[in-house]
Symmetry: C2
């Protein structure tokens, strides 16, 4: 059911604030909505789904932590989306789960230290690709080492260059981590 469809439901008898979608009430302020859109854009650039940006954005710009069902209600997204999005964010370390007294539901708050976010993204999204790429490259280099064809020398040269790229990429990630870990002034 879309947010619009639910907005149109005027016959509900017992209304809980959490059941009403964003635009029909003030539960997500317009300023918050704009920040959420900002995050949606940002995660798209990183190649992540919109829902991930919405969830992180909501938590980032909300003064209080909240459980899954509240996120679902505020954003008007499905439980499935929210569950998957939260798992992703948790795995990345972008979201911190914790328990609240007298509430079985797991609550989530945004992790807002740039260093932690970057570290999570590097470990979870970049490094795995870099490593599988390195493995693939090594296999190809072995094949090229045995290539006596006309182009063998050219291939080896290009593969050496690729190896060089990868090495510098790895160094770069370390530099990035070190830079973001620093406390910056001004």
């Amino acid at each position: 059911m879309s947010a619009e469809a639910r907005s149109a439901n005027q016959t509900r008898v017992s209304i809980h604030a959490e059941d009403i979608p964003v635009k029909a009430q003030g539960e997500v302020e317009s300023l918050q909505l704009e920040v959420i859109e900002l995050f949606v854009h940002a995660v798209k650039v990183l190649g992540l789904p919109k829902s991930v940006g919405e969830i992180y954005g909501l938590l980032f710009i909300s003064p209080e932590a909240m459980p899954l069902d509240v996120i679902v209600a505020r954003l008007g997204i499905s439980k499935g989306s929210a569950s998957q999005g939260l798992r992703f964010l948790r795995n990345l370390g972008a979201v911190q789960p914790f328990q609240v007294a007298d509430d079985r539901r797991e609550h989530f708050e945004a992790v807002t230290e740039l260093k932690k976010l970057a570290a999570g993204f590097i470990n979870g999204e970049i490094n795995p690709h870099l490593e599988s790429g390195t493995q693939r490259l090594e296999k190809i280099r072995k094949a090229a080492a045995a290539d006596t064809s006309e182009n063998g020398a050219f291939y080896r040269d290009r593969l050496a260059r690729l190896g060089n790229w990868r090495r510098r990429g790895g160094l770069l990630l370390k530099i990035v981590s070190r830079f973001l870990g620093r406390t910056t002034k001004k």
Copy 2:
């Protein structure tokens, strides 16, 4: 029409080498195919379409430059895809077009300096997003400055943090450029 479907076409009478897809002939060697796949994976991580990876990969691992129609024939992709992919790569500076004597067709060669590739990607893909994000953020900050509600102070705090992220991101890009511009030893 897929490459497989065309491979099955055994009834063709007049066969030009360029008309035959990859696997039916030796025109793209298996080693080249593996390198192309490596690039396809890499560009997917960067959020770019497969065809861009195929085209750049082919040029990267080919000893000689080639014009659009040869790329189309070697990769078995459409002229439209190749045209769009080449425009993208050219705009990024990842591919260098030039003329060959006695040939009206524009030929392309891969640019293989990591620094140039990174600079092109930063200028073409990252900076525009960073800048539009910065503008959006400033607008939101103006709104928050006037927010006297209960949450106003919290919002201003978070928006200040976002501004800090953006500042550090900008610095980081400069560091990356400087690092990749350096000639590295070992």
